[in-house]
């Protein structure tokens, strides 16, 4: 026995998640919302996806430690990874142009970005302990596109020959005087308009 659902988003649910992420165009978002008012299935997934997103998003304030280390087992594993990473980092020569993988007590960075005049411009809340920041742009498969270091809390990165319509991913990392990552934004994405 089957149940027929009149829902164009059953098979293609990318738009639903883009809606939750705030990355869908206004016209598409409104069309989806018009559908959402009548579709219980989509409402249910929106409710659940929103809750998952809110629960797993790094909080700007508050219970960061709890989220980072939700259990003793995980805390121990994380500590071991950090110790190994510190050891590896100390063994290698300094490469000032590459963000260091070592992570200290990390805080979230609230960042935002826009595309204008063929460049990616981003601004973020400064971290008082940061000596410099790294702005990183990636392709969808994780290939680095650009990496820019700056001591300011904003940066503009020329997009060069990236085709129109492409989605790029970006994040900001804050580094202390040792090059340790002490803060990071969420990995976000932005689409270059056609």
């Amino acid at each position: 026995m089957t149940e027929v659902i009149d829902c164009p988003y059953v098979e293609n649910d990318d738009l639903l998640r883009q809606y939750l992420a705030g990355t869908v165009a206004d016209s598409d978002a409104e069309e989806f919302e018009r559908h959402l008012f009548a579709c219980d299935r989509c409402r249910e997934e929106v409710e659940q996806g929103l809750a998952v997103r809110a629960a797993l998003q790094r909080p700007a304030h508050g219970s960061l430690l709890r989220w980072r280390f939700p259990s003793v087992t995980f805390a121990a594993a994380a500590a071991a990874v950090i110790l190994v990473a510190i050891g590896l980092w100390q063994m290698r020569s300094a490469e000032p142009t590459v963000p260091q993988p070592v992570r200290g007590s990390e805080r979230g960075i609230t960042a935002s970005a826009r595309l204008a005049n063929g460049a990616f411009t981003t601004i973020w809340q400064p971290n008082p302990s940061a000596r410099q920041y790294v702005v990183q742009l990636f392709t969808a498969d994780g290939t680095p596109l650009q990496s820019v270091h700056t001591s300011e809390n904003k940066a503009t990165v020329p997009l060069g020959s990236i085709p129109r319509g492409k989605t790029i991913y970006w994040k900001i990392q804050a580094l202390d005087e040792n090059g340790t990552v002490i803060g990071s934004s969420e990995l976000q994405r932005i689409t270059i308009s056609r």
């Binding site: 149940e3 027929v4 009149d6 998640r17 929103l50 998952v52 700007a60 826009r114």
Partner: protein, 211 residues
């Protein structure tokens, strides 16, 4: 609009069919009962709709309340001729109220808006208007539930809903096809709902700023 058949077993048990009672006999219902039904059915939708446009949780609550009030009034005055189109009527009412809010905000804060227009168009965390609707206790409840889930389920939900990756990309990363991914997603959401307690994961009681 295409019609898709979904096996019954894959229909989420938390999905309720639209409440047919509200589409009939509205005249027999007390104002309180009708308002409660409208609120139950449309509250989250209205807040999502308004929060995305106005980027303000409090204003979103105002819009939701005002929409419910106007729709209730229209129902009681028999101004909604086709009750099958009630969702569209609610949508359009909310849209009009949002437009009014937008115009008011524009008049009152023109200078500020011009300043904001030179600011970035994307933002994260605190500026996320939709996730801001989920209150802290609900976040903690869902986070606890996620921690009890299998790591592969948790990772899948994170890739889909937090990273916001497209189906094809997540499927590629996990080495599965898109159909398998959809089934795994559906089952993961079922397990999450079961752990949370069988209620809506982000139900009305758990959204921020409600009385």
């Amino acid at each position: 609009m295409p019609r898709h058949s979904t096996p019954k077993a894959l229909v989420h048990p938390l999905i309720k069919r639209e409440n047919p009672e509200i589409l009939s006999a509205t005249a027999d219902r007390s104002p309180d009962a009708l308002a409660a039904e409208l609120t139950e059915r449309f509250w989250l939708r209205l807040r999502l709709f308004a929060a995305r446009r106005l980027r303000d949780r409090n204003q979103a609550d105002d819009v939701a309340q005002e929409t419910i009030r106007r729709v209730l009034e229209a129902l009681r005055e028999n101004r909604v001729e086709n009750l099958d189109a009630l969702p569209a009527f609610v949508f359009q009412t909310a849209r009009n109220i949002c437009l009014h809010h937008g115009r008011s905000a524009h008049r009152e804060t023109g200078a500020l808006r011009r300043l904001k227009s030179s600011q970035p168009i994307m933002s994260s965390e605190e500026d996320d208007p939709l996730t801001g609707l989920i209150d802290r206790s609900r976040r903690a409840q869902v986070r606890d539930a996620l921690e009890q889930m299998r790591p592969d389920d948790r990772d899948l939900l994170r890739l889909l809903y937090v990273e916001g990756l497209e189906t094809a990309e997540v499927a590629s990363r996990l080495g599965i096809d898109a159909g398998t991914l959809r089934v795994r997603k559906h089952r993961a959401l079922l397990r999450l709902a079961a752990i949370v307690g069988g209620g809506n994961v982000s139900g009305r009681a758990g959204t921020e700023g409600e009385a």
